[in-house]
């Protein structure tokens, strides 16, 4: 029988009709829809038990307390830990996406020598050779850690140890010079202040321990016509802090020091403070000229700030004029002012950009990326993320966020002494080593981070001073063994030292110091210490327009 075209048509019609009465079209319709709901190229979250661990943010020296949510052994979420007495459960915006930083596209994952892939073995050989040939320098970003201690031990007979301080620490430098007490031992007793005059310091925007200021402001100042805490912002630009301050004084860029001088002059001339001198060199008219504000406004400012004592002035950077204003205000060594929080800290030597006479320089991953030494020495740069161009000879991949055990010493601006331990929560890539591990591999006798932490815990236990803030608040004296104490610290508790003493810090001014212009020209963004932002932060900042795009900053 011959098959005609008509047969084919009829057959197809039959087959089509038949197909409608089979599951084929309907099941496929359903399955294809399900497929579109579970596209295979869409990332799937990990399955596994969820767990919450307490830890500390190690991105900057402030070490805010964190609750880290873990799923399947990986950190999947970060929130503030309310038990931390300084950060008080608040985090800066970056902290919330910090756990994503370890997968940042600019994460360093291999040893690089002058742009070429190298190995840890070669880096070790090069560094060992350098150690044998001349003095070396280790530059640290977060001083006072166990690793810092290891660095100092390593360089004892081999060279020198330097620190790159943050802006907040630099702002405290004049008091250190005048009092002889290391600036690293000083802090602000903002909790007891009645008026805070900020000269361009981004107090509500990531200054110091971010949560400390925001919590304080929210509790005592926000939304009140005459709040308990007067926050006065003196700044050229209408920053986030200026927008939210109780009073905002707009000045010409670089006029902070002049305003401080003018205010001090009014205070002294009108006897608004007990202090008697020395008198600032600038006249009010000169101040008004330099700062771009009227003399009346300066007088008003001076009268306003003393209306609610105690008063403290906060500088954005090392500015002796502002420090001198604090001396005039009597804020140094006083309740609600600049205080000495601990006894046993020695002055760190600040790293200069120009380094001479060194055979090699090792820069720890905690040093901000924009610190670029000018030197002919061989530079060993540790970093977890690639921040763009660098002059380092060796680029060494360091552990990222929560990938390495570290301890967290007192935050730079804190008014109280703290100590905490941030254990490693995330598995580091195999190609990664911290500077301390690297040095240990060269000098096996070098003290390790966990040993130093143990020693420090023992010291705390031995002195039986302070309190441990964890799930409960327990005085150290109640601990029966150092192991118990250490266990608590490893679980995320914070040790708080004895309350600061108002006394013990005296600054005597003979001459009015010379004002220094601002170190930074732009304070639109806070001094982030990570060379890259979490991808999420980059995205959200770009999309909300809240902050400048990070691309512009890191370039």
């Amino acid at each position: 029988m011959k098959v005609t075209r008509r047969d084919l048509l009829v057959w197809s019609a039959g087959a089509t009709a038949g197909l409608l009465f089979t599951p084929v079209p309907w099941k496929l319709l359903d399955d294809v829809s399900i497929w579109s709901q579970n596209w295979p190229w869409i990332p799937q979250p990990t399955r596994g038990p969820v767990d919450v661990k307490l830890s500390f943010c190690t991105l900057c020296p402030n070490g805010c307390g964190m609750r880290v949510r873990m799923a399947g052994g990986w950190p999947v979420g970060v929130a503030g830990a309310g038990c931390h007495p300084v950060s008080r459960g608040a985090l800066c915006p970056l902290g919330f996406a910090a756990h994503q930083l370890n997968w940042h596209p600019r994460r360093l994952s291999r040893v690089c020598y002058r742009g070429n892939t190298s190995s840890w073995g070669e880096a070790r050989v090069a560094f060992t050779k350098a150690c044998g040939e001349g003095p070396i320098m280790i530059i640290d970003g977060h001083p006072g850690r166990a690793a810092s201690s290891a660095f100092e031990t390593f360089v004892q007979r081999r060279g020198s140890y330097r620190v790159v301080p943050g802006q907040e620490t630099r702002a405290l430098a004049p008091y250190g010079t005048w009092s002889g007490i290391p600036a690293a031992a000083l802090g602000y007793d903002l909790e007891n202040a009645g008026t805070i005059v900020s000269f361009g310091a981004p107090l509500l925007d990531g200054w110091g321990t971010p949560g400390r200021l925001t919590r304080l402001w929210a509790e005592r100042a926000a939304g009140l016509a005459d709040p308990q805490l007067h926050l006065i912002q003196v700044e050229p630009s209408f920053s986030r802090t200026a927008a939210r301050a109780w009073q905002y004084v707009t000045i010409r860029a670089g006029g902070e020091g002049a305003v401080a001088e003018g205010v001090a002059r009014v205070l002294l001339e009108e006897h608004l403070v007990p202090a008697r001198g020395p008198m600032p060199s600038l006249t009010l008219v000169e101040v008004a000229e330099q700062a771009g504000v009227s003399t009346d406004a300066i007088r008003d400012l001076a009268r306003t700030i003393v209306a609610r004592p105690p008063v403290v002035a906060v500088a954005d950077d090392n500015n002796p004029a502002i420090a001198a204003l604090n001396v005039v205000l009597g804020a140094v060594g006083a309740r609600g002012g600049i205080v000495r929080r601990s006894k046993h800290i020695r002055q760190d030597v600040c790293a200069e950009a120009a380094i001479r006479g060194m055979r090699a320089v090792l820069i720890d991953s905690t040093v901000p990326w924009d610190f670029v030494p000018q030197t002919d020495a061989e530079v060993f740069r540790f970093a977890a993320w690639d921040g763009g161009s660098t002059k380092a000879d060796w680029l060494l991949p360091a552990p990222g966020f929560l990938e390495d055990l570290t301890d967290v010493p007192t935050a730079p601006t804190s008014g109280m002494e703290t100590y905490a331990v941030a254990p490693s929560l995330a598995e580091a890539p195999t190609e990664v080593q911290s500077a301390a591990q690297f040095l240990s591999s060269i000098d096996p006798t070098l003290v390790t981070v966990d040993k130093v932490i143990h020693t420090r815990c023992s010291e705390i236990f031995r002195q039986r001073m302070g309190t441990l803030w964890g799930q409960d608040v327990t005085p150290v004296a109640k601990f029966v063994s150092v192991q118990k104490l250490e266990e608590e610290l490893w679980k995320g508790a914070v040790w708080i030292g004895e309350p600061h003493h108002a006394g013990g810090l005296r600054c005597q001014l003979n001459d009015w110091p010379e004002a220094i212009g601002p170190a930074r020209t732009s304070n639109a963004s806070p001094p982030w210490l990570v060379p890259v932002l979490p991808s999420l932060a980059s995205k959200l900042y770009q999309e909300s327009g809240l902050r400048e795009s990070p691309e512009g900053r890191s370039a």
Partner: protein, 420 residues
């Protein structure tokens, strides 16, 4: 020219004079290129997602929705002519009916094709049928335009089967005959469906409580835009048919329908347009004075942004509403072909402008006090898809015109007069 070189002459209806195949292909070629570009652009959108467009979170609807609304409004000629011919027995309109069906089919299939690209998950679009939210105007639109496209396909089928070669198959011819007998039923269903979805397309915006520029009070569940859209669609549909027919006459150089038919269509269009303009004016006044102020929006603020000033409102209602309505109904202007065509074009432009204002201006206007007025320019992918649909329409219409009996011609005309 010698007819035997027409390689496809066996497919062309007897007695119909059509241009030579090469010339026809030459005519199609540029449209085919535009269509190919459109298909490519649509493919990009389907494969890579809607990031290929310039739409964004605020301008969530763009050129495509305007195209959909516009095409469906202009395609209303199909249902309305069918309604007039089969239900109201206005047989004098019959010569244009087939053409109207093809125009409708093109408009609706094009609109649905664009919708399928426009939605983010076309594979799940059937959920609307399976889990319908009957409160949504979009559900009504989806149901109705799907059904109506089916109806149009069934109305198109007899025309298709009347092709000279297809009709040689007895089963096709008999089926065509029987289906044709039942077309009045389809015309009735089509009118019902069109009534609802033309209205729902208007309701689509009228129900937007969150967009005071579009929000309208109305009757029962239907905002006033529901009825205005029906009116404007049936008013512009016949005008569009006039334009299409005139364009085909221009391209082919033939008179396809009696000129009396143009005037008749124009008159229908004009009267409906006049009613529409009156209704629209009343609605605008109510909206400006009652509806909008009641939700806290002063009417003046809609018109402070360039280019959406009050002139656009004036243009929509007077220049593209009242004026063509007058021209189409006033015997002296309506009897002049040039005036008639101008008026029809103005009427269609008026409806398109109305759809444009409702889609684009609604989204561009801010709602919150700190919102900004937004701009949006379609990406080339959007524009190409748009062009693709237009080209698709031209190609389908050209093919239909060439091979199918679109305009009922007097029998025997041209039969004995060889073409030149």
């Amino acid at each position: 020219m010698a007819s035997s070189v027409l390689a496809d002459s066996r497919w062309i209806a007897r007695g119909a004079e059509r241009t030579s195949l090469p010339q026809f292909l030459l005519w199609l070629a540029p449209w085919a290129v535009v269509l190919a570009a459109g298909v490519y652009a649509a493919g990009l959108c389907l494969f890579y997602g809607l990031n290929q467009t310039n739409m964004d979170n605020r301008f969530a609807f763009g050129l495509w929705i305007f195209l959909d609304l516009g095409m469906i409004a202009l395609g209303a000629g199909a249902f309305f002519t069918g309604f007039l011919v089969y239900i109201l027995k206005r047989v004098e309109l019959k010569p244009i009916l087939n053409s109207a069906v093809v125009v409708g089919f093109i408009c609706y299939s094009g609109a649905i094709a664009i919708l399928m690209i426009d939605v983010g998950q076309p594979l799940r679009a059937w959920f609307t049928f399976w889990h319908p939210n009957t409160h949504s105007m979009l559900t009504e639109v989806t149901f109705c335009i799907s059904c109506y496209l089916l109806v149009l396909s069934l109305e198109y089928l007899p025309i298709l089967l009347r092709n000279r070669q297809l009709r040689k198959l007895p089963s096709f011819l008999v089926f065509e005959h029987q289906l044709h007998n039942l077309v009045p039923v389809l015309a009735g269903v089509g009118a019902l469906l069109s009534f609802f979805h033309q209205g729902s397309l208007g309701g689509l915006y009228g129900v937007l409580r969150g967009r005071p520029f579009a929000f309208r009070e109305g009757f029962f569940i239907w905002p006033s835009t529901f009825f205005l859209f029906i009116l404007s669609a049936i008013a512009s549909g016949p005008s569009f048919l006039i334009l299409v027919t005139a364009a085909v006459e221009k391209v082919t150089g033939r008179r396809l329908v009696p000129q009396e038919l143009f005037r008749r269509l124009g008159f229908i269009s004009g009267v409906l347009l006049a009613i529409y303009v009156a209704a629209k004016s009343i609605d605008t006044l109510i909206w400006l004075n009652v509806t909008s102020p009641s939700v806290g929006f002063a009417p003046w603020q809609y018109y402070i942004y360039k280019p959406f000033g009050t002139p656009i409102l004036f243009t929509e209602i007077v220049l593209l509403g009242l004026l063509p309505a007058f021209l189409l109904t006033y015997p002296r202007s309506a009897s002049r072909r040039r005036w008639l065509l101008t008026a029809a074009a103005l009427a269609c432009a008026g409806v398109l402008l109305n759809r444009f204002v409702l889609t684009v201006q609604t989204l561009a206007l801010p709602t919150l006090a700190f919102d900004e007025f937004l701009q949006y320019t379609p990406s080339w992918q959007e524009a190409a898809s748009f062009g693709g649909v237009i080209a698709y329409g031209v190609i389908v219409y050209s093919l239909s015109y060439r091979y199918l009996p679109l305009f009922a011609q007097p029998k025997g005309q041209n039969t004995h007069v060889p073409g030149n």
